[in-house]
Symmetry: C2
Subunit: 659 residues, 2 copies
């Protein structure tokens, strides 16, 4: 599943011409084709918010503007219902957007994906700020233009990341205003039926899944801390907490994480987590809470809400030259808890980097998960092939069927993201998710695009296949084949150790570019191991330059596409593992890398114009299908899924041109 750049208004100036063009054109009418949405009436809510913005109960001094960002206190991509504050106040529930409410105005910044949706979901109280368009002011510029002199702009310091605070605060200060932290979230004060913060049971992963015990992870982390001469490390990202302790949760949909922070010292471990989850004997056993342990591995469990005061205590206890390591994405509140001179801030944490390089147990788990996932998809595609001609299968039914087949597999936990099941023109909407208003019936006349994945206890999957259940046109085949050529160009690429993923992005586009075509999203993202389907610090995209170099053991997606507004969408996505490559020479002894596909699902040969493939590309397809047949065929056999096996065998026939 493709990722998008986080484009908050503060960054919008930096969007390249190419991206801004893309963003302008994504928000096509088709994006909400037939979607009937009535706006949320927010007059009363805004009145209440404007009252609390002046209420001494919540603010020391009145704030003339209040910012409501999208995120949660952990800067998560997916958030829990209780954190959907921006959607609550405005009605707009797209994944990206920032609301700002002043005494007179209410404005919403979002990007081209959501222009129409936001316009439909918000009432007349709101002004839509179309990010990426030339004349749209940044949040800072807009604030400066509407605020009276010497205004205070409030924001929840837990929701805004430190780097963003810094940028906005600087801009406001230079115009004579002040960005101020408002401790109590003002939306929460008026959100009377706000759902509770989820607090679901934890899942323990043993060594057979993780390969490394949490103790050894702590040891490795402390050695990184010693290397950088820091005494404390603050874990703020939810997937980093989960990875570090070999625990998983289900507090957030699709992401097997739980609400928690951790603070790791050279001799202490503090885990900030709520609920009775720590009462579970299995959890206590896993974390050895009741064992007599060396003190440096003794975990102190503390309430989730006490992180700030505990961190402030750490901050107050520091001697000169003692440092605390924080991510630059940590919230302003937690960052400020540590006096500036004691902070050691990096864009990627050592946990983020360690987590990205999968060990042998994780890699094996990912392989197993992908085999199971392929079995489910073979079943699905076999079923679709039979059912689609009957005209009874809708996008939603297909998505549900995919989930059903996946849920039959061992260790299935949940989906890894909302299934993108789209046919015909819906396929051209890159972030489409079928809803009853847009739900289209699959047919033998349209291309069908399915981007889906699951969380299994042994791994996370994410795969896109584009199929035709009738006879594709020559043009559809041509476009599909260019996308396939791009997919192969990345998958088969050989590159030096230490190469950053963004240097491979153009390989995926070259065949499309040759014919004047392109796609307006990145080519790949990091994938977690039974964790977030999108994770840093590596990826394959022209949009970033700050990615970490690729290393053997990293796992990314390879997913070029082509989208024709109003007609169809094509994407071919495998999850691939970075592996060492054997080469004829070895310049400067650097060694080389390449990719091994973990996803083993046939690529529909009916869609391929073989004449557009080189012999090498043809061989790649045949070798890939041979592997699908062997590996997935054996598992289908083992599971007694004979009809799907027959389907697999048919779909993996070698391409005609190949020798």
């Amino acid at each position: 599943m493709i990722t998008f750049v986080q484009t908050d208004a503060g960054n919008s100036k930096q969007i390249s011409r190419r991206e801004s063009r893309g963003i302008q054109t994504w928000g096509t009418a088709e994006a909400v084709a037939g979607r009937k949405m009535s706006p949320k009436i927010t007059t009363e809510l805004l009145k209440q918010l404007r009252q609390v913005m002046k209420s001494p109960k919540y603010v020391q001094e009145p704030v003339q503007a209040y910012i409501v960002p999208s995120g949660d206190a952990h800067q998560s991509e997916y958030i829990a219902p209780c954190d959907c504050r921006r959607a609550f106040i405005s009605g707009f529930d797209g994944s990206a957007g920032t609301a700002i409410v002043t005494e007179q105005h209410a404005a919403m910044w979002t990007d081209g994906r959501y222009f129409l949706q936001a316009a439909h979901q918000m009432d007349n109280n709101w002004t839509l700020m179309k990010m990426g368009l030339k004349d749209t002011p940044t949040q800072e510029d807009w604030l400066v233009s509407v605020l009276p002199e010497g205004s205070k702009v409030g924001v929840d310091p837990f929701i805004i990341p430190a780097d963003q605070w810094k940028r906005m605060s600087k801009a406001l200060r230079s115009a004579g205003h002040d960005l101020v932290p408002v401790k109590e979230n003002l939306i929460d004060t008026i959100w009377t039926d706000c759902p509770h913060r989820p607090c679901k049971p934890l899942i323990m992963l043993d060594l057979s899944y993780t390969g490394v015990s949490w103790r050894d992870k702590i040891v490795a982390l402390r050695s990184k801390m010693a290397e950088r001469k820091v005494l404390w490390f603050v874990v703020t990202a939810l997937d980093e907490v989960a990875w570090l302790f070999n625990l998983r949760g289900s507090d957030v949909e699709y992401n097997p994480v739980f609400f928690a922070y951790a603070v790791i010292g050279m001799n202490t471990i503090r885990l900030f987590i709520d609920g009775d989850r720590m009462m579970d004997p299995a959890v206590r056993e896993h974390l050895q809470l009741d064992s007599t342990l060396e003190p440096e591995f003794k975990i102190q469990v503390m309430p989730y809400g006490s992180i700030l005061s505990e961190l402030q205590a750490v901050g107050a206890s520091l001697s000169p030259k003692e440092k605390v390591w924080l991510s630059d994405k940590a919230s302003y509140a937690l960052t400020e808890a540590i006096p500036k001179a004691y902070r050691y801030v990096t864009p990627y944490t050592p946990i983020c980097i360690a987590k990205a390089v999968k060990n042998a147990s994780e890699t094996e788990g990912m392989r197993r998960a992908h085999i199971k996932d392929a079995v489910a998809l073979c079943e699905l595609f076999n079923w679709l092939e039979k059912e689609v001609p009957k005209g009874t299968v809708t996008e939603i039914i297909a998505a549900d069927k995919a989930e059903e087949f996946r849920s039959q597999q061992k260790d299935f936990v949940e989906l890894s993201f909302a299934t993108i099941s789209s046919t015909g023109p819906n396929g051209a909407i890159i972030h489409y998710k079928p809803v009853p208003e847009t739900n289209r019936t699959l047919s033998v006349n349209e291309i069908y695009l399915l981007d889906s994945g699951a969380q299994y206890k042994d791994g996370t999957t994410d795969v896109t296949r584009t199929m035709h259940f009738g006879t594709p046109s020559a043009y559809e085949k041509e476009c599909f084949t260019y996308v396939l050529k791009g997919h192969i160009a990345v998958s088969a690429a050989i590159f030096p150790n230490g190469t950053k993923g963004h240097l491979l992005d153009s390989f995926a586009r070259s065949a499309l570019w040759d014919c004047g075509l392109d796609y307006l999203h990145g080519t790949g993202h990091g994938v977690g191991s039974f964790l977030n389907v999108h994770e840093g610090p590596c990826g394959i995209s022209y949009k970033t330059f700050a990615d970490e170099p690729l290393e053997a053991g990293m796992i990314v997606s390879d997913e070029p596409g082509y989208y024709e507004d109003g007609s169809f969408g094509i994407r071919i996505e495998n999850v691939v593992l970075v592996i060492p490559a054997e080469t004829k020479y070895n310049f400067k002894n650097r060694g080389s890398l390449t990719f091994e596909p973990l996803t083993l699902v046939p690529i529909q040969t009916k869609m391929i114009d073989v004449n557009l493939l080189t012999q090498k590309e043809c061989n790649w397809v045949n070798d890939y299908h041979q592997k699908c047949r062997e590996v997935i065929g054996a598992e289908l056999e083992r599971q007694g899924r004979h009809e799907a096996l027959q389907w697999l065998i048919r779909e993996t026939e070698p391409l005609a041109r190949a020798q």
Copy 2:
């Protein structure tokens, strides 16, 4: 000619793993093979410098350290002898390096290209700081480690760019020290025989060369200023001043520029320039100094040295919201002249961007220049083919001969950079320049690499050819062919309008990567039009992300290579023009671009292993050679250079495999 990243110590932390490995390995023993250099004795000079560092005559308070960067007041890549202050104080005359002198220490930061050279040229007073090596401290960290508490670190505010000042000042301040501007350059105070700043006559370019009058350039600049709502623009880069006024100079070797600044207001033009150059009636006529002009085009000529006071006067005259546009590479001194609130600072100036997109007259001039340049090289290679077997041609003789042939061409002005004429192992030294101590004789047993170019009044050239005058080995041919494949991959690439050059860099490496090979420099740089051979804001390199998108009319080099330490170097370089490409489709109406080679010099077919080329690549070579034959053949004919014409015809025979 390849460019290098500017790696001052402040940036060295940001060098990627790949680059740092590269830098570590460039400084091979071969780099100074046989080069006998005796160090400069600096004891007395350092004593004098340390005295003036404390002298109330020059500093308000004593400075405990003094920084001597490489550059001049315009942040030029090539500098005049009077600006070689770092070489004067240390003896080390490589192109990159920063000296810092404290009361006890003298240290020199330079990168891997220069480790051996710096070690040879500096005496024991100096410590060499090897940038790019893991344990080498940054300048800031080193200063903090050696300075007594509360020290003052001095630097000439005209030599240090504002962005670098900011970074260093921040680091020092956080450790309790102060970076202070020292108005009088302390090196100049002890450099008794410092050469005068050059002040050579100007060259006027008429419309047939420039396509646009300086008046129209001012109009266009003012419209960009109005767009950004700035009232003043400060021109600090020498090539920008030259381009703006359609003037050229010869104050700096290889770069046809002259020492000057300009300050453009909405109604005023101030040119800061010294000497009697403005007495030349032709210059006065060109700039219309004596005509009755509309006041907004009246150029006020002022002394070069008065820029600071004039700019301070501008700064003092500003009303709120009035802004002054400066490059972030402008010196700290000039940047500080404008109060912070009034500054509008960008990495690329509108002149830099306008200058990069060549108009029809400039493009035609570049074509003419490249035809003449090719004629000279055909003569040279024909001559070398006859002379090399005699064993009498050295690298220096070959370089001189190349210059001789070029100087016979119309409107030849000078070389555009120091010729890289290198044979055998010297070819592996990427920045080699033959000197008597290293001068090697060309032979029929070694590869010869010639990277050279010239300034003609109608254009700037830069071309690299790699030749063998005997029989190349299979391995040499194999490597050459991979480099050629990379060269073609870039040259023939089709890509969307608005694509940044760095996205094309990997195309140049793909064939090398497949075999485990690579080269440790960028693939291309912008080329000026009878201006600097290296210019921004575009280029093709994995090292940068801040390049501006490629546009039709931009001119860059395409120069992949392969270097085997101790054996040989291969590089194939053409200067190419960005042109619109015709494509089958046109996604989102963006349009596509590709390259047209301006360089038309045969690529030695003897070095090509035809079996490694695809049919498409083979056709590219044959089409290219056909064009060389037609265009350069006609000119050789016209110039009556019959022997060189015969050589050209032989060298452009179609490759065997082609149809």
